[in-house]
């Protein structure tokens, strides 16, 4: 649905985004992560038709953002990182303004506004002036406004930045629901743990370029082929280290706790290796109640990529 090809954005002599290429499938959630100044907001603004790129192509389905911005805007919903609202409008008036501007009939407007306020849990605040809302509530009002014209593509810049834990969970569920209804969501966030459960794919940006893009597992595979497996035992089993060392692909084994009931081993093999290790341990009498590969977290990946780049820069 979203296709970005060779995107380059200059601010004067400064290159904010350089040779950026990525795709987002229809009905999926894509997370854009990266440190401050990586070019995430600039990329989202270019996707939202608010910034004309120096070079490159952006397509939303069949629509070219550069050549048909008016068409692109009809299917876009954009929410910036800092939530400006019309302070002296009421929350429902704020949403109604945009429903009206997007051409919704007056008969449908009210119900659509109510629906969006319901989705963002703001129904009880609909008559409050926007200026009286907390920052998190303003963010929710903004999300309601973004959804009011039923856009096919949602571009959300740091949507969870000001939300409390419950609102974050609600937002995650809402975005997953929207994605399951066929909407394409691109979200940038610093709250990396939020992206873990939310995103189907992620892109890691640094200095205006995309370092890695893909599912979390794919990126983990690319950045570090070694896999960590945790073995949980009901009782201590002394021969476990000797047994595991017989496998040449296993590079290290260590006990996680002093009771020696939890072990971790790292290997560079495939699923087949893990299956063989499991059957070997069970065969030797180890009482295993849990045997699981440790999932890579987005935070770990991000830190790993960051440190690799840092080392690369030093070299």
């Amino acid at each position: 649905m979203i296709s970005v090809q060779d995107l380059k954005i200059h601010y004067g002599n400064f290159v904010a985004v350089d040779q950026l290429t990525f795709q987002v499938e229809e009905g999926s959630v894509y997370g854009l992560i990266g440190p401050n100044g990586a070019g995430k907001t600039t990329t989202i603004k270019a996707l939202a038709t608010l910034l004309e790129p120096t070079y490159g192509e952006i397509n939303l389905g069949e629509v070219s953002v550069l050549h048909e911005p008016e068409e692109a805007r009809k299917i876009l919903g954009y929410m910036p990182d800092f939530p400006p609202v019309y302070d002296d409008l009421r929350v429902d008036e704020f949403c109604d303004l945009f429903a009206h501007a997007y051409g919704l009939d007056s008969s449908k407007r009210k119900s659509k506004v109510e629906e969006c306020l319901g989705l963002t849990d703001l129904l009880d605040k609909r008559k409050a002036l926007c200026k009286s809302l907390s920052r998190g509530m303003k963010q929710r009002a903004l999300l309601a406004k973004t959804l009011v014209h039923d856009p096919e593509v949602l571009l959300l810049d740091e949507p969870a930045a000001n939300l409390d834990p419950k609102a974050r969970i609600d937002l995650r569920n809402l975005l997953r629901k929207l994605a399951s209804e066929g909407k394409t969501v691109l979200v940038s966030s610093h709250v990396l743990s939020e992206l873990q459960d939310l995103c189907d794919t992620i892109g890691i940006m640094k200095n205006g370029t995309m370092i890695h893009s893909g599912t979390i597992d794919e990126i983990a595979e690319k950045t570090n082929p070694a896999r960590t497996v945790q073995v949980h035992l009901t009782e201590a089993f002394d021969g476990i280290e000797d047994c595991l060392k017989n496998f040449p692909v296993i590079s290290s084994v260590h006990a996680v706790d002093e009771s020696r009931k939890r072990f971790e081993f790292i290997h560079e093999g495939s699923n087949q290796v893990e299956a063989e290790v499991l059957s070997s341990l069970v065969g030797k009498g180890a009482k295993i109640y849990r045997f699981e590969p440790k999932q890579s977290k987005v935070e770990d990946l991000f830190l790993q990529v960051e440190s690799e780049n840092w080392k690369g820069e030093i070299r």
Partner: protein, 545 residues
């Protein structure tokens, strides 16, 4: 209803606002209006110079209403022109800074609907306050027996002025990137366009006077308002005489029609700019085509306004007054007046070129973008009229227009015997034209080589700094440093042009100083030519890279 207007009404006209603003408007308007009305309606006091005493007029409600009209109009102007313009400028800039304007930009509404929404929605409260003055206006028209035709003329121009001011403020909010800068620039532009530029009307460029409501007020309304005054002072008011029919080419045009034409042209230019900015913020305010059209209209208006002066010696304002006070005496000084008018013409044209170069010529970033896009589309080069294309041909076209108007006016001046006893040499045409084209070329090259800061820094350093230094020298060393003063000041083309022209006209200058003018003229001309050549070569090389 336009959703942006509806938003303005919802935001600024809630019950509490209606009560507060309504009370404010009614209290102020009724106090001012009835004070002025009752003062004259009950018989005003006037000084009689013949008796040397104050005398009371007969009570007259008609005079009272007519007297109060000007006060009412001023209040209406305060609500819509002062408060309303401030509101539009401030909110446009603030919304751009906060990102709220981006939300509006992303909606599929037509850009014109968005402009209309901002123009009428943002000052909704000010329009409401204005509306509350209408009963007073009705009273004024009925009791004061004012001619309906004059009122229609005046309020037509009043609203077109209001639109003009609001649109100027909105466009500046859209064009200038930072809100603080936008607020300052809007004040400067509103002052410049509607206060300083009209002052050039005194120098014979009459069309510039017609950017405000004043010509229609003084030309149409004031004669009616003071019709019943006994005082001869009012009847011989210079303001009334100045703003009667406007000389334009061989004809004369009514001030309100001329004001509407002028304001209509500026409104059209501002609308083009606002439309482009609403469509795409990164587009320049004007395309090259609209820049050329605007400049052609500007030159046409200059030509039409100056035509009566160059062909018949007739002019409006102070220029006309001075030139026709005593024709015989002024014959000796006619070339000086001609030089002054030509310098104003060239100065305004050059400022016009500077503005359009800054607006329509691409910076390096935009040009690069265009080159890459042309490459992708398989075009041999960027299309000539595209925003991204080099502006060399564009500034040459602008320069050619100015040179043509200069040639027409000069030939008119030569054809009459009002200005010259001996015909000036052809270089009086060529050298100013050469200077203007050289300046246009180096400005364009500088704009395209550097970004805004570099460009304006260059212009400031080249035009303003030597000028200030020459001022200090002139004050501190007087006649001893005249050579240096001429040389330094000639770096600013607006001051170089009079030096070029003065060295061709029979201007009374002491013999010992005769060499100074050609010296200054050739320094300025030489510098501009060298800069134009060097910068153009640099730009050409950059393009090839």
């Amino acid at each position: 209803m336009n959703p942006i207007i509806l938003r303005g009404v919802r935001e600024r006209l809630r019950i509490k606002h209606l009560i507060a603003a309504g009370l404010f408007s009614l209290i102020i308007t009724s106090t001012v209006y009835f004070s002025a009305y009752l003062n004259e309606a009950n018989g005003g006091w006037n000084y009689n110079p013949q008796t040397g005493q104050m005398e009371q007029d007969e009570p007259s409600p008609v005079k009272g209403a007519r007297h109060a009209f000007t006060f009412l109009l001023s209040l209406q102007g305060f609500y819509l022109m002062f408060l309303g313009t401030g509101r539009v400028a401030a909110i446009s800039a603030e919304e751009k800074e906060s990102g709220l304007m981006d939300y509006q930009r992303m909606t599929p509404m037509n850009p014109f609907s968005k402009i209309v929404g901002y123009l009428f929605g943002l000052p909704a409260r000010e329009y409401y306050m204005f509306a509350l003055t209408l009963p007073f206006l009705l009273h004024c028209i009925i009791v004061g027996e004012l001619a309906f035709e004059n009122i229609v003329h005046l309020y037509f121009v009043f609203f077109s002025s209001v639109m003009l001011y609001h649109l100027t403020a909105h466009v500046i909010g859209l064009v200038v990137p930072k809100p603080r800068a936008a607020s300052w620039v809007s004040r400067i532009v509103v002052l410049g366009l509607y206060v300083f530029l009209p002052a050039f009307g005194q120098a014979g460029i009459s069309f510039l006077s017609f950017l405000t409501i004043l010509p229609t007020y003084f030309g149409k309304m004031l004669p009616e308002l003071i019709e019943m005054e006994n005082s001869e002072y009012y009847r011989s008011n210079d303001m009334i005489n100045f703003w009667q029919d406007v000389p334009f080419f061989g004809t004369e045009i009514s001030p309100s029609l001329f004001t509407l034409i002028m304001q209509g042209l500026i409104l059209a230019a501002l609308l083009v700019s606002a439309y482009r900015k609403w469509r795409n913020e990164s587009l320049p305010a004007f395309s090259k085509t609209s820049g050329l059209i605007i400049f052609a209209v500007f030159q046409f208006l200059l030509l039409g306004s100056l035509w009566p002066f160059f062909s018949e010696g007739k002019a409006s304002g102070l220029l006309g007054e001075n030139f026709s006070l005593s024709e015989a005496e002024n014959r000796g000084g006619a070339p000086v007046i001609l030089l002054f008018v030509q310098s104003v013409f060239f100065g305004l044209s050059l400022l016009g070129i500077l503005t359009l170069v800054n607006t329509c010529c691409p910076d390096r970033h935009l040009h690069l973008k265009g080159a890459q896009r042309a490459n992708r589309l398989g075009l041999p080069s960027i299309p000539m009229f595209a925003d991204e294309s080099r502006g060399t041909w564009f500034v040459l076209a602008l320069g050619a227009m100015v040179c043509t108007v200069h040639a027409i006016l000069l030939s008119q001046a030569v054809a009459t015997d009002l200005f010259f006893s001996i015909k000036p040499e052809l270089t009086a045409f060529y050298l100013p034209s050469l200077l203007l084209i050289a300046c246009a070329l180096y400005l364009q090259a500088a704009r395209e080589l550097w970004f805004s800061l570099g460009f304006w820094g260059f212009v400031g350093l080249l035009w303003i700094t030597p000028l200030l230094a020459s001022l200090v020298l002139a004050v501190g060393w007087e006649e001893k440093s005249l050579d240096t003063v001429a040389m330094l000041s000639s770096l600013c083309p607006i001051l170089c042009l009079p030096q070029i022209l003065a060295s061709h006209y029979p201007i009374p200058i002491p013999d010992e100083h005769l060499h100074i003018l050609p010296f200054g003229a050739f320094t300025g001309l030489g510098t501009a030519s060298i800069l134009a050549i060097v910068f153009s070569i640099r730009l050409h090389r950059k393009t090839r890279i």
